[in-house]
Structure formats: C-alpha cells, structure tokens
Amino acid sequence: MRDEFIATLVSLAEADQRVILLTADLGFSVLEPFAERFPERYFNVGVAESNMVTIATGLAREGMLPFCYSIAAFVTMRCFEAFRDGPVLHDLPVRLVGVGGGVGYGVSGITHFAIEDLALMRSSGRVAIYAPPTSSACGPILRSSYLNDGPVYYRLGKDPIEDPRLDLVSLTNAGYCKLGNHGVAIVTYGRMASAALEAAQALAERARIAVQCVVISHLSSEVVRAALEPLADCEDIVTLEDHSVSGGIGSMVAEYLATLPKHPRLHRLGLGSDVWSGLGGSERRVLARNGLAPPEIAEFVRRLAQGERSLCSSA
C-alpha cells in the first residue's frame, strides 16, 4: 500500500513543483523513489513528528503541498495539537500520511497501534480522511484528493492488500462502494474491507446468508449518509473497523442513525480492551483476538441473521 502511494506521489510531484515530502525518520525502502527523484523536495526532519507538522504548516502557508509521512499512531497522536493549531486552524493543505492504521504494526505493540486516529482526525470536522481499502486503490484515491484545499489524513495499511471485488471507480468518485443488495449490512473501511468481503462470501457459500458490504474510502459524515440512506430498511447494521469502537466508523454510523425516526439496529465491532493487555502477535492474530478476523465476523453475522437479537457488540 505504501509503495503504491509513494509511486503516485512521485508522478504527481513530476507535474507539480509544490509537492514536498517530509518524513520523521521512517519509510526505509519505501520513500527512496521520491527521495532520489526529488532530493531538493524531500526532507527527513529527524525523529520529530510534531516539528514535521509545524514545518509543514509554514511550507503550506507559503503555497507548498507538504506530505508528512510516519507511522499512523505517531503522525496523528504525537502531532495532534501541532496539526490542530497548524493546518486545521489555518485551513492549509498539509497531508498526514499514516502507515499501519489500526494494528498494522502488530508485533511492535500498543505504542505503534493507531486505534484512536480517526476519532482525533474527524473531531474538528475540518480534515478530509481517506482510508484506501487496497493497494491499488491508493493511487486513484490520492490523485483525486491531492488538490483538496484543506488538511487531509491518509490512513494506510502497512502491508500490500488486494481485492478485485472492490469497485475502484466508486471508491474514488463517490467515496464508497457497495457490494450486495440485501441482508445484514457490514459497513467498513481500509484494510478491514477484504475481511468483511471474505466473511460475506463464507456466509453466502456455507450458510446461504446474504450480506451487503459497504466499503467507505472517504470517511466523512456526508459520505456515510449517502452510503447509509439505501440501508434504512435494513434490520441490522454491523460496523467493522480496526479502530477503537469509540470515535471511528461505529460512532459515525451511530451519529447518522440517531437522526432517523426509525433506524436499523447497530452493532459495532472494533478493537476493545485486548489491545491494552500487553499480549503480542501479528496483525492477523491481534485482529482475531478482537473478533475481527473473517471467521469471527462471519459467526457474529450468522447469529444476527438467525435471530439472536440479544447479541452485544464488543462495545
């Protein structure tokens, strides 16, 4: 995912002299294509994420388009005030590029998990947030959003991921895509999209349970509303995310549904207390421990579909 993002950034920088790439000393074997092609527009600021964002604010104030690259946890949490009092307050086109959103840095542990990043980034309502679900979605999503006037947060997965079932055109133009037309709806984003699709396929093949998947790539309340309007008659909506169940897509969907006179029942699946336990493991293992691997997702939806209404989500 990172490689596709940087390859697209290189091609944008060829045509646009304003594109500048900053890193807080991360991106080994990822950023080299940009650094070698544009050494005069590539700056490693050192291990100083907050300073990176403040410098980017000054750069953007002078008309540049700075991209700030780091691990998602650092570039959102360490820098939060710098980002808020800098590009967000001044409405400047600074781009945060966070790699390993969720638990992508599995074995590195909780300090490297970005599980509150969406909550932070969406709270001002002034940051455009994009979470490409696959590697090949990175390029089109970056191309279509890089001229956005204000601040942007790109939440990227760490490892390559592909899923040909996803509609790239829809993801890029509408900010979401929908697969399936009836049954329990799963609303998700980023690297969890393929887990949702895998669970849906297993349910269809093994239990003849229909599931509709809504994959959101542009995490705004407007896109959430547009994506959810067709689901108003649905009985159950499950939100699925590699983020805390508070503040992410579960909260965004809840905020929308609460405005309706009558709405589907909401079940929020996300990262719970396990991530604070100190137990290690790969991204896959951490997700599975939190009920977020395809078999656990499928089992949850099966029980819902078969009428076990007393299910409670990990909230």
Binding site: Q17, I20, E40, R41, F43, V45, G46, A48, S50, N51, T54, I55, A56, T57, G58, L59, A60, R61, E62, G63, M64, P66, E81, A82, D85, G86, L89, H90
Partner: protein, 284 residues
C-alpha cells in the same frame, strides 16, 4: 567562553554607537514610537480590563524595531508568544495596517482582536497561543522560500519560557541543520507564568546553547530599538540568527517591572493614571 566563540556577539551598546544612531535620526524616532506603543498598550488593556500587560511592555521595543524593517506584504513576522498580541496589534496600527477601531476592539465581543493573534488580521500570517510553535512555523516558511528560491525575511519573536517547550528546540535543531535564513528574537525577561525562569527551569547559559546548535547569536539590550533593529537587519550574516533581547517584563511602568503578578492583572483606574504618568515622563 563568550569571547571565544565567533558566533556569539554582544551588541555594542557603547555611547559612540548610540550617538551615531541618534545623529542619523534613527534612535529617537524608534524610541518615540516605542513610547507611544507602550501608551497604546496601557490604554487598550485598561479599556478592555485584560491582563498580559507586562508581557506586552516587555516586547514593545522588539515589535517597533522589527516592524520598522519588515515589509509585511513580502516578509513574515510571527509572534510566537501569542499572549502579547496587544503589542503587535499596536504595532500594526502604527504601521497603518489596522484601524484605531480595530485596535480598541481588543477583547470585545465578536472582535477579531483577542488576547492572541489571529491569522485573518492583516499583517499576521499565523495564529498562535499555545506556546512552542512559532519557530517551527518560521522554519517552514524559510524552507519554502529556500525550495522556491523566493525572497522574503522571516522573523519570529519568542518568550524565554517558550524555550521550556521541546518543540522549540526541535525547530532550533532543524533551522541550524538546514542553515535557514531566519531570525528568532527571544524576549529574555526572565519571567514566566508562575515565577522567575531561573527558579522554574533555568535556561542559562542561553547564548552558548544557541551557538552549540549552529546559530549566530546576538545579545542585546531589548529596550534599545535601534540596536534591535540593527540585529534584525544584519543581512550580511547567513543561516539562522537569534537575538537574545535582555528585557524587563513591564518595562516603562515602574510598579509593574519584574513583578510576576503583572503577567495576569488588569489595571485599576489609579494604576492606569500612574502608568500613563510614568510613560509621559519617559518621552525621549
């Protein structure tokens, strides 16, 4: 140690230099402007019944000196110690960038002119308030001009207590490493919100710290606008430069000078009259 470092310069406050500047008509003009600005700060703060007066009086001479050098259409001035915005608003008024009504709307309901500066005010490029960001903004501005080969000066004015913030040192390191042509003025009044800097978190030896980070360092009387202007204007030297402006919080109003409580207090009527009398008596 100071004498041994080629990067550290104690700006000469010698009578002969002062005399030369006065003869050139520079110093009296700036001193008069500074005295007028102090009067404006007192008038506006009294009317608004708002504090931070001592912090404003501390930087008046730096504001007057810097704004006399910069063209704010092209150059950038960043007040990193945002809580002294009233002194900057007064300077912008003197420069004709904002109106008297703007200035006297300070801290009024629905005014753009609050305790801290807002980037939507003419002449102000960055909103500040949370300490420790101004120098990083300045580094970004300078870097952009370096990349684009664009002209323009960049000056940031910081409080000495802002050097408690790690983010300030991140920017100091960055500007030193990239040899960015910016100027930082540090308002070394030795005072912060809850006490003297030497008892809260001692900054000394300050000049040597900047020298160690690769900065050209001037130590100067921070209430001598002509000397301050000379430092800001010194285009012969390249790379980042710091002006350690030795100041007294509340300078010009004897009952405020060096007293921590004037970081907060608004003026009573009696104090207002006394402050104005002191400033009138000090007209150069």
């Amino acid at each position: 140690m100071k004498a041994a470092s080629p990067r550290l310069r104690v700006v000469d406050p010698s009578p002969s230099r002062r005399l030369a500047l006065r003869e050139a008509g520079v110093a009296p003009d700036l001193r008069l402007k500074a005295n007028q600005l102090r009067g404006l700060v007192i008038d506006v703060a009294y009317q608004a019944h708002v504090g931070h007066i001592a912090s404003c009086l501390s930087i008046v001479d730096s504001i007057v000196a810097t704004l006399s050098v910069l063209d704010l259409d092209r150059d950038t001035f960043i007040l990193s110690k945002g809580h002294a915005a009233l002194a900057l608003f007064g300077g912008l008024y003197q420069k004709g960038l904002i109106s008297r009504d703007d200035l006297f709307s300070y801290c009024a309901d629905d005014s753009r002119f609050g305790v801290h500066p807002d980037h939507r005010v003419p002449g102000i490029r960055f909103t500040t308030g949370s300490l420790g960001y101004g120098l990083g903004f300045a580094a970004g501005v300078s870097l952009a001009r370096q990349v684009a080969r664009a002209p323009g000066e960049c000056v940031a004015l910081l409080s000495d207590a802002e050097l408690n913030e790690g983010s300030t040192w991140e920017a100091i390191m960055f500007a030193g490493h990239h040899h960015l042509p910016l100027v930082a003025i540090i308002d070394v009044n030795g005072q912060q919100a809850l006490g003297k800097t030497r008892s809260v978190l001692d900054l000394q030896p300050l000049a040597e710290k900047f020298v160690a980070f690769g900065w050209q360092t001037d130590e100067v009387d921070g209430h001598d606008p002509a000397a301050l202007r000379g430092c800001v204007q010194d285009s012969a030297r390249s790379g980042p430069r710091v002006v350690l402006a030795q100041t007294v919080a509340g300078h010009g109003v004897p009952f405020m000078e060096g007293r921590v409580e004037w970081h907060y207090l608004p003026l009573t009527e009696v104090q207002y009259v006394e402050a104005k009398r002191a400033l009138r008596a000090a007209v150069p």
